[in-house]
């Protein structure tokens, strides 16, 4: 049923009691990294849209 790619290296942590903290920290850090890159992606997309719009407006003005 489950055939996600098998994780090559199983990083088994042995320090008792610290698993949750480490795991959560790691998850958070990965999340923050992804969020930052998505934020940039969002910004770049909007910038392109806005640039196109300005170019259109400029063309319209030129044609007038």
């Amino acid at each position: 049923m489950i055939y996600a790619p098998v994780v090559a290296e199983r990083n088994i942590k042995s320090a008792a009691g610290s698993n949750m903290e480490n795991n959560v920290k790691e998850i958070y850090n990965i999340f923050v990294k992804h969020l930052e890159s998505l934020r940039n992606k969002q910004f770049n997309f909007l910038k392109v849209v806005l640039d196109n719009r300005q170019e259109e407006n400029l063309n319209k003005l030129r044609h007038k």
Binding site: A4, N11, N19, E21, I27, F31, L35, L38
Partner: protein, 520 residues
């Protein structure tokens, strides 16, 4: 406008720092709030900027929505993993509160744990185990499951014996895909056992197999313990509990799930759509298409309304005629209930998207008399609320019959590789495999096949199906005269089971090499 835009960019609207003190809280709740907060800020930022763009075109809006969805998805992944991590921790022998160093020394905590464990030892009833699971209510609800996509994460925890000695480390992997399948896979290094807890929007299954087998052979060797129907309270991820559950406890849980499910699926009201809101709309269909489907629905209703169908229901559920009539009534009402929407994808694909209090039905805009999409969706899924109303007998028979033709999978993947590239083809094949292993999907194909067999003149509904009929069916398949669903069915079950399935259970494009794409 541009100044405003650039101005916003130059400011750091949110400051994201990675080195903050993260886990002081009990159960990851604060962390979740933090993740949610950051996401909201980024989403709001985008929305503010977008609202400043005059006369946005539909394409621009679509592009923007896509990014926003991506952001939400990333947030969900993180939330899911954090809660999973917290739940795993809570589920391990060590109490969550042990995170708080003020609560006592490690030894004291271990002693407490020992007491708890001894208590657990004495609790062997299902109710106790279930309460233990419920107390682990840290996981979020999926209010928007449609936006999830495949991902995976890894978490590990240690397992202790009652004396507080570490006996093994359990490695857990969490997956979630865009088919709303949440999976928690546990590897127990010591016991050489894997437990796979997977939870779908509309189903629950627990599978157990040996850790040392390769993925390819797992599917054949897996102990088949799969239940398609899920009582509402199990749908929430919080019910996934791992760590200190023993084999006996797992067995006990399975037994209980089975009993609950059997009882519920025997009650037609359990799978009635009457109280669910239908959110579909046929507004986009042309009058011809609408009529095509309406005729199909009428035909399907007549099929379910037939005395033969009633007899099969009676036999399948092993119930009286009066009780069978109730199932018949609910199924007909389900088929007729609500409307259907046009699916956005191209091709001859349909779908029924079940939810807790609402559901949606999709049909393709393209119609083709050779396809059995309407039969698959309306009779196979909608009539039984996508799996909830499938009889225990059908679940058991279908589970036993499942056998995927690997040559078919390989061939299908090859075609996809040419079209989409190796990586995408691999993902699509994995998805196909997941779908082909769902009882509800096999059930829907069988339901549609009943009608197709009659249309093809192979065997009249209600007559006993024999291997001869199946051979004829295979001939039709060889001549490329079967619907895509039936073609798939011949490749995902052991065909020798087919007469049994057709006799015991009341129950797309011609480009068959690409049939992975046409999963409904």
């Amino acid at each position: 406008m541009a100044t405003n835009f650039e101005g916003k960019k130059s400011q750091e609207i949110i400051s994201i720092t990675q080195e903050e003190s993260l886990v002081e809280q009990e159960d990851g709740k604060q962390m979740k709030e933090k993740i949610g907060g950051l996401t909201t800020e980024v989403l709001n930022e985008g929305q503010t900027l977008f609202s400043n763009i005059p006369n946005a075109t539909p394409e621009e809006l679509a592009g923007f929505s896509k990014i926003q969805k991506e952001i939400k998805r990333e947030c969900r992944k993180a939330l899911h993993l954090v809660t999973l991590a917290a739940a795993l921790f809570a589920a391990s022998e060590q109490p969550v509160s042990a995170q708080n160093k003020n609560e006592g020394t490690v030894k004291e905590i271990r002693d407490n744990k020992k007491e708890q464990e001894l208590k657990i030892e004495n609790q062997k009833t299902f109710k106790d185990i279930f309460n233990k699971i419920r107390s682990c209510s840290l996981l979020p609800k999926h209010d928007d499951p449609g936006i999830m996509e495949y991902y995976q994460g890894e978490i590990s925890l240690d397992k202790f014996n009652p004396k507080g000695e570490k006996i093994s480390t359990i490695q857990a992997e969490a997956y979630m895909d865009d088919m709303n399948l949440n999976t928690l896979e546990l590897f127990d290094a010591e016991e050489k056992t894997n437990y796979v807890f997977s939870q779908e929007m509309n189903g629950f299954s627990v599978k157990k197999y040996s850790a040392l087998e390769t993925p390819g052979s797992k599917i054949q060797e897996m102990e088949k313990v799969s239940f398609m129907k899920t009582p509402k309270e199990f749908v929430d991820l919080k019910n996934i509990y791992v760590g200190s559950i023993s084999d006996e406890e797992v067995e006990l849980m399975l037994e209980n799930f089975k009993m609950t499910l059997d009882k519920q699926s025997r009650n037609p009201e359990y799978y009635s759509l009457a109280n669910k809101k239908n959110v579909s709309s046929s507004a986009e269909f042309s009058p011809e298409t609408k009529k095509f489907y309406q005729d199909k629905i009428n035909k399907i209703v007549a099929h379910v309304n037939s005395p033969e169908y009633l007899k099969k229901l009676q036999k399948e559920f092993d119930i009286s005629e009066t009780e069978a009539k109730e199932h018949q009534r609910v199924r007909i009402e389900n088929i007729k209930h609500g409307d259907f929407s046009q699916i956005s994808q191209e091709g001859l694909i349909g779908g029924v998207k079940p939810g807790y209090d609402q559901y949606e039905v999709f049909m393709p805009s393209k119609t083709d008399s050779k396809t059995y999409v309407a039969e698959h969706e309306f009779l196979g899924h909608k009539a039984v609320d996508t799996g909830k109303g499938i009889s225990p007998k059908a679940v058991s028979l279908i589970s036993q019959s499942m056998h995927i033709n690997e040559a078919y999978m390989t061939q299908g993947e090859k075609v996809l590789v040419d079209k989409y590239g190796a990586e995408q083809a691999g993902i699509m094949t994995d998805k196909a495999r997941v779908d082909f292993n769902k009882v509800e999907e096999v059930y829907a194909r069988i339901a549609a096949l009943h009608m197709e067999l009659e249309d093809l003149g192979i065997v009249k509904y209600g007559e006993t199906v024999t291997m001869e009929h199946i051979n004829k069916l295979k001939e039709f398949d060889a001549q490329d005269k079967l619907s895509i669903g039936s073609h798939q069915l011949l490749n995902i079950i052991d065909v020798n089971f087919l007469p049994l399935l057709l006799n015991e259970i009341a129950a797309n494009t011609s480009d068959k090499a690409n049939s992975f794409e046409n999963l409904a």
